[in-house]
Subunit: 365 residues, 2 copies
């Protein structure tokens, strides 16, 4: 069996603590199952800036490009609030997404039964929730040019960002959404603002054409993104797969994550196109939560989103479906057992730290 | 007392039904209180397109410009889904906002005690909720140029929209937010995506400067817009006034509206700058809900958002604070009494139609 090359980028804040639990898991899998993972580690975000003045070094970028999969922790913190825009912590993540061409961001929003009560939404609204947001990740207003601040004189400046989408970008992301829908409830909802945005008009048109040409077996709905946000809050179970652009995806996936009552639980996968020869996709896996600088270093961070991101890695990068299922099962089992980190604690449960939570999941795996 | 000129644009779908209740109220106020309202009426949206091929005619635009205040219903419906982009129903609303320079959109999200249980959020999360979203309405990606679809050949098109903000635009909208905060809990949260958008960097900078220069007595927080959306769902009562750009404001105000459990209840005001001589502001008042074509013409639409928009009109355009308070009190009273339109019905309450709801509010006024 070929060695599986993982490149780890723990990043800032609680990133390293959460990643430490995945490292233990990787060691355990190598020892007990002979899974054959080889890991290397680099810097991204504020810590990379501190080390060499960029949010990710060219050397680490090259390692990310060469790896079978990248595991990413989190970036940012108040320490770097005032660094120049070009080298701010987020620039490292954005460069990874862009240079690796990770155009498809998969964000499942799953409500674990054991946590349904801890959502701010009514239990019946979120219990059993299982939706998948497919967010376009390398286009739109995140990367369009011009993107600049112009000095107009007289104390006036002008801030400009450009939302750009080409047909092929919309085609390939909607293809991913339709394919995934076929493995689920066969229903895709596409969201844009075609009533005010020309890119939204094109988005709507291309998704409709792609559906007609190749995926007419899948149920397709269109919703304006503002109405979609409302519907997510009103009755999220009406959705199966949601496909949307980079910026709307950013907003909507965070809202979907919050519905589940457990942002510390949610993983994501960012995938490139399959290589024409090897069929392998470049891939990066990261928790939806951020670096949470306020609780960093205290040993109380929830490692579940990071571990669940590794489960997605097993599934999508290595086809290790059984192992992924078992790992997700182990997470559900420790929750059923009543173990809770602080962020998801409720009376009657057992509060544990990052390390204990990681150990418990590995023990059940 | 000078005549108060109102220009009514009922629009499409449930717009005319909801507006009819406000017309009854205006007549009653003229008869019983001698309020001195003069009304004129025009077409906007799909009905305007049907009548003369544009989403609003130049003649009606001129009347809107000349009026003391415009009352707007709702626009759009499946009938006009395929009309050209330039004359789609929404274009009428966008032209009104732009030509009247209505840069400040005020969207209160208030949870009426009688309705707290009907939110999809837990009662304790939304009970007593009273936040105000101040949305910039004449700039950003809604109006920036270029805004176009380019044919690239080879079956490829490119959709482009441009987000543009100038210093003065951010200054004036944040000024409105700070002023309003002083009449409330004195707390403003500004939301943008400065970590990916240059317009967000400028937004953050200008809000900070405006605060320092003129409003340092108000508490100011900054939040990334995606995190802000999450926090709205997690614990909305942490907010007082939220100030944000046109597109984020569109998303966030719809989500805030949905939290209250009663999108059919929520009004909005869109205001221009005070005239240097007369101090009067151009203004348009509209419900947050849309045209709801599925229930149009059935007599079951909730007229409360439209009536509450008229209450905002009394308050902001005519300084009729007592009347506005009494009208809002009348709405709360009929709800306490148990009257409900279909959209907010729950067991044990009395279901009424649009006309009965309007009559009941007028009777309590
Ligand atoms: C950190 C930031 C640049 C990023 C984004 O806006 O995409 C984050 O919010 C996310 O959703 O992954
Ligand atoms: C109808 C549409 C153009 C409008 C907008 O996007 O601003 C609506 O959603 C709103 O929020 O008033």
């Amino acid at each position: 069996m070929a060695t599986k090359h993982l490149f780890l980028l723990p990043g800032d804040g609680i990133g390293p603590e959460a990643m430490a639990e995945v490292k233990k898991l990787i060691s355990a899998m190598n020892e007990k199952l002979g899974s054959g993972f080889a890991t290397d580690e680099g810097l991204v975000g504020g810590c990379a800036y501190d080390a060499h003045g960029a949010a990710i070094s060219d050397a680490d970028m090259a390692k990310a490009m060469a790896a079978d999969a990248v595991l990413f922790g989190a970036v940012g913190g108040p320490k770097w609030d005032a660094v120049p825009y070009e080298v701010r912590p987020e620039a490292g993540l954005l460069r990874l997404r862009k240079d690796m061409e990770l155009f498809a961001n998969l964000r499942p929003a799953i409500c674990y039964p054991a946590l349904a009560a801890s959502s701010s939404l009514k239990q019946e609204v979120v219990e059993g929730l299982d939706i998948l947001i497919v967010r376009e990740l390398t286009g739109g207003v995140y990367f369009g040019e011009p993107k600049q601040i112009i000095d107009l004189g007289n104390g006036q400046k002008r801030g400009i960002d450009t939302q750009v989408y080409d047909t092929f970008e919309i085609e390939r992301i909607s293809g991913v959404a339709f394919e995934l829908a076929r493995t689920r409830k066969n229903h895709v909802t596409s969201m844009e603002k075609r009533n005010v945005m020309k890119s939204g008009v094109l988005w709507n048109e291309v998704v409709t054409q792609t559906h007609k040409a190749r995926y007419s077996d899948v149920k397709l709905d269109h919703m304006l993104a503002d109405a979609g946000g409302m519907q997510l809050v009103r009755w999220p179970k009406q959705f199966d797969v949601i496909v949307t652009d980079n910026l709307f995806g950013d907003m909507l996936s965070d809202i979907a994550a919050m519905l589940t009552g457990s942002i510390g639980m949610l993983p994501s996968a960012s995938l490139g196109a399959p290589d024409v020869k090897t069929k392998k996709r470049k891939a990066l896996y990261e928790p939806v939560h951020g670096s949470a600088p306020d609780i960093a270093g205290k040993g109380i961070a929830n490692p579940i989103a990071m571990i669940a991101s590794f489960a997605m890695c097993l599934r999508y990068s290595f086809g290790m479906v059984d192992e992924a299922d078992r790992l997700e099962g182990a997470i559900a089992a420790v929750l059923d057992q009543g173990l809770r980190t602080k962020d998801i604690f409720s009376p009657g449960m057992t509060e544990v730290g990052t390390v204990e939570m990681g150990d418990a999941i590995i023990a059940k795996f």
